[in-house]
Point group: C2
Chain length 351, copies 2
């Protein structure tokens, strides 16, 4: 535990800068109170930056980012109808490039239904689970291609690449987390009845690692069945481990049932610490409400808490968690608040 | 419209035989009433059959199935813990082999929340949409492989194969269906910000076909966002078109929000009629409740209705639909019923 932390901040596009501003304020406040120094370096990246400079993530910027202890990330992405930016370019060349270059193999996405938050489910029960999404493999690797593009004979492929190395490390991480929860339950999700090669690598890996964690109860769900349980019995889940694409899908659904992506935080974690980890709200840049102080900064604030936890300050993370919980509990009595009003309220709830 | 239909019946495993028995009774009844002859030929296939014979789908059986007008399918698959059957073997070598061999490129899955059916959603609204799932391509093709299996250097790949031919025909089908609904709305779902090659083939295809259907409103959703809307605003959907894997996931979720897979019917349709189409409940073989008359046969009955519709008897299909709707509307006042009691009640509701 060091007495100062060095954080790179990438506010990004749309609502990114607004929500990150609040997260930074909260981070700064709990650090100040604890006598922890915080050095913040802002990096201007994203769709807007690409429009003015043509740059997504230059090598020098990536090298500079590597020097920090961690990265706080807002959101990036062009407005859906914006034809000036090739679809998905910023997501791939900036966000995914960061995850892959910095080897963020544990994409950690906690889902908790806070008391007082309305869920779209009629009877959600006590929902409190964590998805450990693999972050560096699967169908996200960018393999594949197209032949005879634009003709009636076009063939387009996408290759999901999965390695024992990649699956083992994320499965081990998930078991370690499951061993520390009260329920000690791990659900692994795939589609191994159809995707046999990748599926069986996952299956064998889970079975092998399970031998080292006899205290953890393991169950398997096909991804389609997992979506059913997420709406019919989300309380059954404790730790879920799954691949990059299934994790993408399940965590958006998980965010929806726990009150929306305005509350869902995530960490893109390099557990080996060979490069800085990155913390970001699960939500996107929401260009339609950008600059209007309408976005909920809670997911960004909770992402800052995950950052503090990762950097060895779990008590500061917990302090933020409690403040957020308190703020959320009082929400139903309040009218709509601006982004910074919510940030200020969370800061007020810290004390 | 012929005066008799020739149907192959594959009851399969687990609850398959029980639910198919009721579907056959209902089919027979509406056909009799209309003076439509029904010839039924039962085929014994599935996990149990494999255990006794080692056969999944012999060439001669496939050839025989091709001679029928349509296939009514129950469910197949071994019990999850059954180690005698390689995982997924029956699903791939029987169910998927039928879909691929008989070129079932339109996997049609209607989702309707019937009045009286409890949804896990607090405020579902009026849910009535159809998913047109591509059935012969995508990550389901069985391409890919593994290298250095079982070692720490293992690499396993899954290749999603997508062709202009395959995407065009299913997208055109979905547009045709959308043009016939009241709302005339088509949502296409993919993940084209990450899966660029397949995603852009889908995107370009949808844009091209849309030109022929100016009356249809089109919107695009990433698959992760689609799962959010399915729980926060399912009433927004009319026709959804998507690939084989995303369709698998979305239709289980859709079944869950509309009261469970006990009600979800599907058609695996060859729109060119070069081979028989196949109709099956979305649910699996549910070995845990098999043989106990606990399964709801409604999904199988509604699958028989889709079969009649496909074979040119929409009025008979509608008759079954109304009877099911009536039976469902009275359910909340009734205690649990057996599989055949539900079948009988639907028959009683026909008149
Ligand atoms: C923006 C997109 C590339 C990203 C992903 O698919 O991982 C997002 O959906 C997420 O879940 O963080
Ligand atoms: C059993 C399995 C192969 C099948 C699929 O994945 O298509 C099932 O989940 C379905 O949706 O019909």
């Amino acid at each position: 535990m060091s007495s100062s932390i060095d954080v790179a901040v990438i506010p990004g596009d749309g609502i990114g800068p607004e929500v990150v501003a609040e997260a930074v304020k909260v981070l700064q406040k709990v650090a100040d109170d604890a006598g922890l120094g915080v050095s913040l370096t802002e990096y201007t990246l994203g769709a807007e930056h690409w429009l003015t400079t043509g740059e997504t993530l230059p090598d020098e910027t990536l090298a500079a980012l590597r020097q920090h202890d961690a990265i706080l990330f807002g959101a990036v992405g062009a407005a859906p109808g914006d034809t000036r930016i090739p679809s998905g370019l910023i997501e791939r060349e900036l966000l995914l490039k960061l995850r892959f270059s910095l080897d963020h193999y544990v994409n950690l996405r906690p889902s908790k239904l806070y008391p007082g938050v309305p869920s779209p489910l009629a009877a959600p029960g006590v929902v409190d689970f964590v998805v450990v999404r693999e972050g560096t493999e699967g169908p996200y690797v960018g393999n594949g291609g197209a032949l005879r593009t634009g003709t009636d004979q076009e063939i387009a492929t996408e290759v999901s690449v999965n390695t024992a190395f990649g699956v083992q490390r994320v499965v081990k991480d998930a078991f370690r987390r499951a061993a520390q929860t009260e329920r000690k339950k791990l659900s692994y999700v795939h589609k191994h009845n159809v995707l046999v090669h990748a599926g069986h690598l996952w299956k064998r890996t889970v079975e092998a690692v399970a031998a080292d964690f006899p205290e953890v109860t393991v169950d398997y769900l096909h991804v389609d069945a997992a979506t059913i349980f997420l709406v019919t019995d989300p309380a059954r889940f404790d730790i879920i481990v799954t691949d990059n694409l299934f994790g993408d899908i399940l965590t958006d659904l998980a965010a929806a049932i726990t009150g929306g992506i305005g509350l869902a935080a995530s960490g893109n974690i390099n557990m080996d610490r060979s490069a800085p980890s990155m913390f970001e709200p699960v939500h996107g840049s929401a260009p339609d409400i950008a600059g209007q102080q309408k976005a909920d900064p809670t997911a960004a604030v909770l992402s800052a808490a995950l950052l503090l936890d990762h950097l060895g300050h779990p008590e500061l993370a917990a302090r933020i968690g409690r403040a957020v919980e308190q703020d959320i509990a009082g929400r139903s009595e309040l009218g709509p608040r601006t982004t910074s009003q919510i940030g200020e309220a969370i800061i007020a709830a810290l004390s």
